[in-house]
């Protein structure tokens, strides 16, 4: 009983006080990417976070006193969506196919590939893409990871992001592939 209350409290605290981002149901920003509805498998890990701009601003307000740098980054965000899906035989083909389709679409829309890692034949398959606005700002970031054919991670961050703020974003959202991006590579 205690554990379920703790989880409830944690979930509520997460929504009301933690990080950032936005719903963006009809987000028309060019940095927004529609991953579509990703259904969970019958069993297995599934995480979906789709936060609204109002909540980002609220989080930025909370962070402003203790972490002004984080608050500034959050204040410029419009939408963050994170999906983590454990793969099984029933959904592997569909979801991996979806990830590949998203990558292809980004490529055709002129997104810049910042990181591409492919460990063959098994291992991680990682791609980080950015939608640049001029040379100084990023309108959208998309991280796609197919981890050893066992798990898929999709992240879309929309906003007005300065290249040097990526490290802050990576830390706040714990997005490993973003942590190693060199700012110089974006300029």
């Amino acid at each position: 009983m205690n554990s379920i209350f703790c989880t409830s409290a944690f979930a509520a605290a997460f929504v009301w006080a933690s990080a950032s981002a936005s719903f963006a149901a009809a987000d028309t920003s060019s940095g927004y990417v529609d991953f579509g509805k990703i259904a969970p498998s019958a069993e297995g890990r599934y995480v979906e976070v789709d936060l609204p701009q109002g909540l980002i601003k609220f989080a930025a307000k909370l962070a402003s006193k203790q972490e002004p740098q984080t608050a500034e980054v959050l204040g410029n965000l419009k939408h963050v969506r994170i999906n983590v899906v454990e793969l099984c035989d029933a959904n592997r083909e569909e979801i991996v196919g979806r990830v590949r389709a998203v990558r292809k679409e980004l490529e055709s829309q002129g997104w810049s590939q910042l990181v591409t890692v492919r460990e063959q034949p098994k291992g991680d398959d990682v791609q980080v893409c950015a939608k640049m606005r001029g040379e100084e700002a990023i309108e959208g970031l998309v991280v796609t990871v197919i981890s050893d054919q066992k798990e898929v991670v999709l992240v879309n961050i929309v906003g007005d992001i300065k290249p040097e703020q990526i490290a802050t974003l990576a830390d706040r959202f714990d997005i490993e592939p973003l942590k190693n991006i060199k700012v110089a590579a974006l300029k």
Partner: protein
Amino acid sequence: MNSPAASSKPRHQIWPWIVGLALAPVIALGGMVWSACHLSRDATALRRQIMAASGGGWHTRVQFTADRTALGAVRGGLSLAKDLPCEAREALAAVRSASIGVYERADTKSSLAGGAVLADADKIMALHGWKRLVGVRESGKTVLIYLPAAAEKATPSRICLAVCDRCELVIVAAEIDADALAQFALRKIDRHEFAGL
């Protein structure tokens, strides 16, 4: 002597009014008690959907709704208590209303019906004007958090969430004063920093 015209005048029945006025507070009180013992409309919809998806067999352990009036009364009562920590007052001031239900079932072998519970819950909550913000399923536990779909760019003021595993289910719907909550959080940070010096 009364004229025939005067005697045919309709008499105003006063008793129905007296009875009505006497019963009104009882009915109102009954309504308040009934409402206090049930979940809000949105929380009920979410609870029903999850219970249906999980195969039933749930029993109510705790279920109540504290609306603005009830919470106002609690706040008023607590204002008389001198020893109450001011943090508790501030936290209570940030909550406008809350509806909470805790349910359990003995059949721990039953499980939630895979991904169907999320899709079904999303569908019913969308009909009530909610959009899912967080959906997590891990180690047999499922967490669903909804915010009003119409308030994407505004500071959220209402929240509805469900946390469940094989044998326990918690549903919470609350209306929160986000500004008061932010002020409370900021003051807490200040106190924490001050205490750390």
